[in-house]
Amino acid sequence: MTKRKPKVAVVKFASCDGCQLTLLDAEDELLLLAESLHIAHFAEASSRLEPGPYDVTLVEGSITTHEDRERLLRLRGESRYLVTIGACATAGGVQALRNFADHDDFLRAVYAHPEYIHSLATSTPIADHVKVDFELRGCPIDKHQLIEVILSLIAGHRPRTSSECVCQPCKRRGTVCVVVAQGKACLGPVTQAGCGSICPAYDRGCYGCFGPSRDPNVRAWSDGILDGKSDPGHLANLLSNFNVAAPAFAQESQRLWQITGRIPEQLPGKVTDGR
């Protein structure tokens, strides 16, 4: 490892900026991080933007326009490691709800002059367009995981982020299961950990911010919870959040929507092609 500081860029596409703000929120660690990194391009933090190439590019947001797709392809060419941060970049974000409805309907409902808007009919994750070296989950991402990823890339090893589900940090912190003790719908058993299992500790079910856990059995999850007389529409809503287009969640939410008969839409090809 040379002593040259790795050159880092933080770039956004369609997103709320919350994930890149996590880097600025790392208040205690920020000065130390700045000592070991050269943050060359970070529009949220500084208007001094250096051109590539970059050693590490952190990418926030999903691809929703042709222009963004072109910009992403250029960026990939300028980046040694490309790491996606957050649910938008790894699964398409909440804006991927459009993938399951008529894009033109949305344009007409929202904009006075929809003819000026040239967006894609879908919101898709970065990995649908370019090779991604590491995907960091979350809505927003967790600061400790972000630091782990950055440090790992500097040190030259794979980031150690667990693939376990939300139930496990829940149990380690002594949280009583809200599914079993209160009959609440909770995505914890099928959602990847990383947030610290915050919601159940505050008496709420998990919202699935970190997306599907590894190899999740979402069908058995909803069958089990429906057996407890939950409303299928409620479960479908729960799955149709920040990670609505993550294949494991999308497949089950579409099945549940069909049970309710409220949105009898066909699955868009993007979701069913087993990406």
Binding site: E29, L32, L33, S36, I147, E148, L151, A155, R160, S162, S163, E164, C165, C167, Q168, K171, R172, R173, G174, T175, V176, C177, V179, V180, A181, Q182, G183, C186, G188, P189, V190, D203, R214, D215, P216, N217, A220, W221, D223, G224, I225, D227, G228
Partner: protein, 371 residues
């Protein structure tokens, strides 16, 4: 001591408070059942009125509910989401720290320090679970220093069950419901107070320090009836006769696929289990790159990464992971530690979010001839 252990004493609510006070004065941190987050959990206790008096728990597969009792009993419930392992084998422990110095890296094990715990309200199945973990952490080839220290300083006040939950099957596992050994003191709650039995020298000293009298014969009888009632209420069964060989003869049974179709592989069963001890060791490096902390944390055989070796995961399907858990718990545990890994507490049944019931799965797997 021999004389006292034969005798059955009687104490009242005040006597129980005096016992807590005595143990606190001896430097113990008293932990026991209390109500939190809609359940009866284990947490610090200093006063008898912190106990879940007048409450009970209803445990069914995948469902647990706290319910008011029609009386004012202090221990009128069974087991909840927590087990005592969280104190003896904590969920997260630092096991080593490395620092970069001018002479290279130095490695340092942390000083083993611990509160001196006193557990109040340990049930018979839980005494058995502690004995199982003793086999794992102390009596085997290697000793875990933190477990060993906490265990050696531990004072146990057991409580006999006077009722059973629908998920209980200690009678099948030969672990309860009566507390027979492994405690310092054992209580049986009766109408007018508690029967007190002494199980150790430390228990005798504690009993000497509190007001008590010999139990009257009708009090002893009431205790006996109540313990008998708990036994009578247990309807769940696990046929343990030759279970090791029967399970291991069915490793290719099609029913493993059926369980896998329902199992979330979420690891809840293993984390609520009072005997599961699997853990992983992670290294966390400091930003300045001159300090690395090595932590041990609860892990589970239900995690894909848990069996990850060079080349991939050994158990990369839920079928493989469930089979590993069940056959280890009930069969190969016997080879490894000389006892079953299951004590019949029923936590894995109640706290499975989709209510998978190991007694039923074993009955299906072992029913009939091996395929």
């Amino acid at each position: 001591m021999a004389d006292d252990t034969e005798k059955l004493w009687w104490i009242d609510r005040e006597g129980l408070q005096k016992l807590i006070d005595y143990l606190a004065k001896q430097g113990h941190d008293i932990v026991g059942p209390r109500i939190d987050q809609g359940a009866i959990v284990y947490d610090s206790i200093r006063r008898v009125d912190e106990l879940p008096r007048g409450w009970t728990d209803d445990s069914q597969p995948g469902v647990y509910r706290l319910q008011p009792r029609s009386d004012q009993e202090h221990f009128g419930f069974n087991v909840g989401p927590h087990s005592w392992k969280k104190y003896l084998f904590p969920p997260l422990t630092e096991v080593m720290r490395s620092r970069r110095t001018s002479d290279g890296w130095t490695m340092q094990a942390p000083d083993v320090e611990s509160p001196r715990y006193a557990f109040l309200g340990v049930r018979a199945c839980e005494l058995a679970a502690i004995a199982v973990q003793d086999q794992v952490f102390v009596n085997g080839q290697t000793q875990d220093p933190l477990y060993q220290l906490r265990r050696s300083q531990l004072f146990i006040i057991a409580v006999n069950c006077t009722q059973a939950a629908a998920t209980c099957f200690c009678t099948s596992m030969g672990t309860g419901p009566e507390c027979e050994k492994g405690f310092d003191l054992a209580l049986t709650e009766i109408e007018n107070g508690f029967l007190l039995a002494i199980g150790s020298e430390a228990g005798r000293k504690a009993a000497d320090a509190i007001p008590k009298r010999i139990a009257l014969s009708d009090e002893s009888q009431s205790g006996q009836q109540r313990r008998h009632r708990a036994r009578e209420q247990i309807t769940r069964k696990l046929d343990t006769d030759g279970i090791r060989d029967r399970l291991l003869a069915r490793l290719d049974h099609p029913h493993w696929d059926d369980v896998a179709s329902r199992c979330l592989s979420c690891a809840n069963c293993t984390l609520v289990c009072p005997t599961c001890f699997c853990h992983s060791v992670d290294e966390v490096h400091h930003l300045t790159d001159d300090e690395i902390v090595r932590n041990r944390r609860w892990d589970s055989c239900f995690n894909v990464d848990f069996s990850h070796v060079a080349g991939g995961s050994v158990r990369d399907t839920t079928r493989a992971r469930y089979r590993q858990w069940l056959t280890h718990k009930l069969a190969t545990w016997i080879d490894q530690f000389g006892t079953s890994g299951c004590v019949g507490c029923g936590r894995c049944i109640a706290w499975c979010p989709v209510g998978i019931d190991l007694t039923q799965e074993v009955a299906t797997l072992c029913g009939g001839n091996a395929p």
